[in-house]
Subunit: 142 residues, 4 copies
């Protein structure tokens, strides 16, 4: 009800497509990464600055459902919410919609907070607070 989602748009390029005129299945993950980057920037501190503070968020799990093919030159709307916000783990639920509002993909990426040494560490409080307004129960993200 109070759910907030971060929104971002992306125009599909030839580089992202494969035979049969649709986006190659792995490229959606590239687009999701770009959207997460803009999400974090919108929260006030881009990934790069967290990285400089030795906070990394590598993906430990990804799940994608492909609903409908996106085509060259389509404008996709990417919506991101937070589906899990633990001490070390954070998960983002995402979906991409085409211009008619139909779902292209639904995806979840689960991240672990680590240091530059790739060992787990607690999510910084400032990051947790910034993400809190976007937390959504998983069932709502469907």
């Amino acid at each position: 009800m109070n759910r907030r989602a971060f929104q971002w748009t992306h125009r599909v390029t030839y580089a992202e497509c494969t035979l049969g005129n649709h986006v190659y299945y792995a490229r959606y993950l590239d687009i999701l990464e770009a959207a997460r980057g803009e999400f974090f920037r919108s929260l006030g501190q881009p990934f790069l600055r967290w990285q400089n503070e030795e906070v990394l968020l590598p993906v430990i799990e990804a799940r994608i459902r492909y609903r409908k093919a996106a085509r060259y030159d389509d404008v996709l709307t990417i919506e991101l919410v937070v589906t899990e916000l633990g001490r070390v783990r954070v998960a983002f639920g995402g979906r991409m919609l085409d211009e008619s509002g139909e779902s292209i993909i639904e995806a979840t990426t689960v991240h672990a907070c680590t240091g530059l040494d790739e060992k787990p560490r607690r999510l910084p409080d400032a990051l947790r607070e910034a993400l809190q307004p976007f937390v959504t129960a998983p069932e709502e993200s469907k």
Copy 2:
């Protein structure tokens, strides 16, 4: 016990890596696709020939667990089994191991058999028969 897995190896390139010297999370899906291509070739009929017979197998779902980062120049062993073999759906379980035998990723890709019109169609019998020896209960693929 009678489980059969298709095996293939891949050498990690700079193109596949990102900052921090590890394979970018989406590139594992590119590598899995290349491995599936070789799996099908080993079964006697490459994807290209199925495509010429108007049989496509687009991915409708993908799930990946990232266990350990693969690095530039690592040689990865990809193992593929069949975890689901329905009338229209087929799923492949895959894992990648590094040279020390440690698991890099575990992944499942679920595919729907379609025609060139992107509408569902039955998996051809010849394909089903070729895949049958590789069918593994999902729990065994872990």
Copy 3:
């Protein structure tokens, strides 16, 4: 003096970077393609509509000079001009600048106008006229 350049900006993602924190040398061509797509859209008719009229512009030659590494999260400004506008051939000169105005790459892509059969055909007059204001002598594009 009367030179016009199309300008577009792009934010560097992890997907585009490789070891050592710089954009992988091939990814600049992906970014140039996205910029050309926006250039054509700004001229009134996106590539997709030319394609629907059976006009393609495949790249027949590309030359890139790498001046300085672009890094993750950098905002690149891409400038495109037309350096050749023949009956069948068209070439685009491009350069990417970082936020301090320093040159990241300079590039030329040469394209041949073809039909869907991949055979050469004349550039449509409407396309030639739209590109004319951006024609720059090659030496000026340096």
Copy 4:
């Protein structure tokens, strides 16, 4: 006459293709990088070991002529020769042939030897000696 070329083969994947069933123009550079990696390995010391000795060879210039489209599942033969072997600079001439022996692309990549600080340094003598047998006058590489 005494020309030696390094040869390597590559099978085209869906990930490398775009609309119209041909390899996307930037992906040939990914394939060339993989081939250079194998070339260096064949000389006795892979890039990774040079990198560990603080010797990098970033690309400072790339030129590609696209002759014919490579398609999904094509097997490409990549041939590499050395077209320049200076104190700091080294250039590789490459071409890709399809199974009928027709030229797909011809390419040159120019590299500068640098340290991890990205500053120029002399090519190590051992590397120069290993590359010497592959030196070809540029006109011969056509």
